[in-house]
Amino acid sequence: MRRVSAIMASAVIVGLANVVLVASVGAQPVERPLRPSPPAGIPVIPFHEGWYDNDDGSVTLSFGYHNRNEHPVSVPMGEQNRIEPASLGGMQPEIYYPGRHHGVFAVIIPASRVEDTTVWWYLNTANQELKVPGERGSTAYELDRNPRPQGSVQPLIGFSEGGKMGSGPEGIIADRKLRVGVNEPVTLQVWTDDPSERDRSDPRFRKPLDTRVSWYKHQGPGEVTFAAHASIDLIDTQGFSVLGLIPTPQHAMWVSEGEGPARINATFSQPGDYLIRARLDNWRASDSDGLDQCCWSNAYLRVQVQ
C-alpha cells in the first residue's frame, strides 16, 4: 500500500480550500446577492472594537472599520459621517482603505458622563447608513492596557525624541500644525519606543523585535502621496495579511529593535487642514496578532496645506 504523506495531504487541502460562500441577513439592510461581491458599491462597516477603563474614571472607546470594496472610500465628516453625541466626535476618519482596520480612532467619554452615555457612529456609504454603538457595556468588549502573556504592551509613540508620548488607539495628537504648500513634499516624523519585556530564552525573542510604522491619510480634502524618506526604506509587507482580512499597509517601515524614529515624505494635492495617522505596531510579537486588540498605538499629525 502507498502511504499518503500528511504534508501532501495538507498541500491538497490548502489548494482546494478557497471556495467559500458567506451570506448574512440583518436588520441593517445589506444586499448580499448570491454572486461574488462586486469590487465597489458596498457599504463600509463601522466596528466598535471595545472599551478601556481609564484611571481618571473616563472610558476610551476604540473604533475601526471594514471596507469590502477594492478601492478607498471617502466620506467627509458631517451628516454622512458623524458621531453622536457630536461633542465627542471629530476623530473619525474621512477616508476608508480596503480591508479591516482596527483601532483607527478613539472616543473618550468623560468620567462624569460614562454611566449614561452611548456613543453612536453613523457612516453613510454606498447609499446605506450603517451605525454602531460604543459604551462602557458588555465585559465581552472590555479591553485593557496590561502586558500580554508574552510581554507585549501598547508601544509608545510621539513626535520627537524625549518628547511627550502616547499609546493605544487614542494615542497622541500633535499640538501644532506643520505648514506646507500644495504638491510640496514635507517630511513627517514620529518617534517610537516599545517597552515590551519578553523572555529572551524564548527562541522567538532572542533578538529584540522590530516594530512597524504605517502611514495613512486620516482626514483632509485632497489626495496625499507618500514616498520613502532618504533615511528609511519602505518595506514590502506582502504575505503578512491574516486570512486576507488585514490589509498590508502600502506605506510602512520597520523600526529596528522597536526604538527610534520613522519618517516619510508626503505631498498634498489640495489646500486645507489634514490629519495624518501613523500607526505603530508590534504585531510580529506572538501576542499581538491581528484583531487580538493589542498592541498598537496611533499618532495623529496635523498638516495645514496652503
Partner: protein, 445 residues
C-alpha cells in the same frame, strides 16, 4: 458517556397516558414512575459526573433530596435535549458516535413522565448502585487506557478578573526522543482553569534563527471537549525532538464558571497522550487540521444572522474520523455534508442545530461507519450565526460582528481528523464494510 449498566423498567409515553386515561388505583400504582426504580439510574449514569460536589454542574444531583427541587428544570432540559450537553441532531446523518452523551429517547420519556407524575421518590431503600465515578481531576480515558504515557503541562498563568482576552503562546519540550503513534489524547485544564480557558491548542513547532515559527497541530481543545481517540490501525504521529507550542486563549473573569469576575491564579492546562507501543506502525496516516469557511468574509449585522459555507476535497481517498465545528458566542448551528460529483448526490453526515460555544464536542465517528470518501468527493461545511436578542449567549446584538480571535468576535472553521488512504486501502475498507453489513443482515435474519 458511560452508558448505564443497570437498566430500570421504563414507561414510554406514560405522561400522555396519565393525562388521558382513567385507570384503576392498582394499575396506577403499578405503573408509577419513581426516582428509586426508574430515574436514579438515569441521573447517576448521565448527570452526576458533573453534578456532584466539586463538579462543574451548578447543583448537585447525587440523591433524591438534591434532585427533587430541580425536577421541573431537569424535565425541561432533558426534554429539550439541552442536557446532557451534547448537541447533535437525532435522526439525521451518522448517529454512531464515540463519547456520545445523548440520552436515549426512552430515558427522556421516563424523566418526563416522572416529573409529570409528581416526582415520586419510590422506595429510597431500594436504590440502584451508586455510579463509579472517576476523580474529578482524572483523565477521561483512564478507564480504557489507564494513565497517559505522556503528560505535558503548560506554564502557569494568572487570569485577571477583567479586561481583554489573553492568548498565551509558549513552548515546552515534547519529552519524547523517538516518533510514536498516538492512541488517544485529552487536553485538560486543571481546576478553576476550566472556567477561563476558551481554547488550548498544541502544535509541533520549530523556530528558525530569525524567530519565525513553523507549526502543525498536535491536538485541539475548546471549552467542554472530551478528547480524541485514534481509530484502530491508524498512526497519528507524535513527533519527537520538536518543541510543543501551547496556544491558549484565556477569558478574563471566566465564562459561567464558579468564580466569574475574580482573579484566577496559576492556570495550567495539561495534554495527556496515550501512545501505542514502540513497534506499532501503520500505513494509514491521520492528521487533524482546520477547514476554513471563508472567515475573512464573515460579517454578521446587528440584530441579524449569517451563514458561512466552505468546500474541501482531496485528490486521494480519505476517511473522515471526526468533526468539530468551531465558533464563538453568536454561532448556533453547524453541519457537515458530502457532495459526490459523479452522482450529484449530497449526503448529510452531521447536523448540530443547537450548537453552543460552551461545549466544543469533537464528534468521533465509530470506525465502522466513519465516512469513506473517494478522491474528489467534496466536504460541504456550513455554520450558522445568530446576532439577535434571541441568542442567550449574545453579549450585544447591536454590534457588527466579524472574524476575530476574541470571544466577542467570531470564527468559522472546523477541526476535522482525516485518515489518508491510497486506493487499494480504500477498496479494502469498503469491502470489509460490505462484508460486515452482509454478516449483520444475515444475523438479523
Amino acid at each position: 458517556m458511560i452508558r448505564r449498566i443497570w437498566t430500570p423498567k421504563t414507561k414510554i409515553g406514560l405522561a400522555a397516558l396519565t393525562c388521558l386515561a382513567i385507570q384503576s388505583q392498582a394499575t396506577a400504582q403499578d405503573d408509577a414512575v419513581t426516582y428509586s426504580e426508574d430515574v436514579a439510574a438515569i441521573i447517576n449514569e448521565n448527570c452526576v459526573v458533573c453534578h456532584r460536589e466539586g463538579g462543574i454542574g451548578p447543583m448537585q444531583l447525587t440523591n433524591y433530596d438534591q434532585v427533587r427541587p430541580w425536577a421541573p428544570l431537569i424535565q425541561l432540559k432533558v426534554a429539550n435535549r439541552e442536557m446532557p450537553p451534547y448537541a447533535y441532531d437525532h435522526g439525521l446523518g451518522l448517529q454512531d458516535l464515540q463519547g456520545d452523551w445523548r440520552l436515549a429517547q426512552e430515558d427522556i420519556d421516563t424523566v418526563v413522565a416522572w416529573v409529570n407524575q409528581g416526582s415520586l421518590p419510590g422506595d429510597l431503600d431500594e436504590m440502584p448502585p451508586a455510579p463509579e465515578l472517576r476523580d474529578l481531576d482524572d483523565w477521561n480515558f483512564s478507564d480504557q487506557f489507564g494513565q497517559p504515557d505522556l503528560v505535558l503541562a503548560s506554564n502557569a498563568i494568572d487570569v485577571p478578573a477583567n479586561g481583554n482576552d489573553l492568548w498565551d503562546k509558549h513552548f515546552i519540550a515534547s519529552g519524547l526522543d523517538e516518533n510514536r503513534c498516538i492512541k488517544a489524547m485529552q487536553v485538560k485544564p486543571r481546576g478553576d482553569a476550566k472556567t477561563v480557558v476558551h481554547h488550548a491548542n498544541t502544535y509541533f513547532s520549530e523556530v528558525d534563527d530569525n524567530g519565525q515559527v513553523t507549526r502543525s497541530p498536535v491536538t485541539e481543545y475548546a471549552m467542554g471537549k472530551w478528547g480524541e481517540i485514534m481509530p484502530e490501525g491508524v498512526c497519528r504521529t507524535f513527533h519527537a525532538d520538536m518543541l510543543i507550542q501551547w496556544d491558549i486563549h484565556l477569558y478574563p473573569g471566566g465564562v459561567g464558571g464558579a468564580a466569574p469576575g475574580t482573579m484566577i491564579e496559576n492556570n495550567v492546562v495539561e495534554l495527556g497522550v496515550w501512545l501505542h507501543d514502540e513497534n506499532f506502525d501503520s500505513e494509514i496516516t491521520q492528521d487533524l487540521s482546520t477547514y476554513q469557511l471563508d472567515q475573512g468574509n464573515l460579517f454578521i449585522p446587528p440584530h441579524g444572522t449569517a451563514l458561512t459555507q466552505g468546500f474541501h476535497s482531496f485528490d486521494h481517498p480519505v476517511r473522515i474520523d471526526s468533526f468539530q465545528p468551531h465558533g464563538h458566542l453568536r454561532m448556533n448551528a453547524a453541519s457537515l455534508e458530502i457532495f459526490y460529483p459523479e452522482t450529484g448526490r449530497t449526503e448529510v453526515i452531521s447536523m448540530i442545530s443547537n450548537w453552543s460555544a460552551t461545549w466544543h464536542h469533537s464528534h468521533l465517528y465509530e470506525p465502522d461507519v466513519a465516512p469513506l470518501l473517494p478522491a474528489g468527493a467534496v466536504l460541504v461545511i456550513k455554520q450558522w450565526y445568530d446576532n439577535t436578542e434571541n441568542n442567550p449567549n449574545n453579549p450585544d446584538p447591536r454590534q457588527w460582528v466579524g472574524w476575530g480571535q476574541r470571544t466577542a468576535d467570531e470564527m468559522s472553521h472546523a477541526w476535522i481528523a482525516v485518515s489518508h488512504l491510497d486506493e487499494e486501502t480504500y477498496q479494502e475498507l469498503l469491502a470489509e464494510r460490505s462484508q460486515n453489513e452482509a454478516a449483520q443482515t444475515a444475523a438479523d435474519d
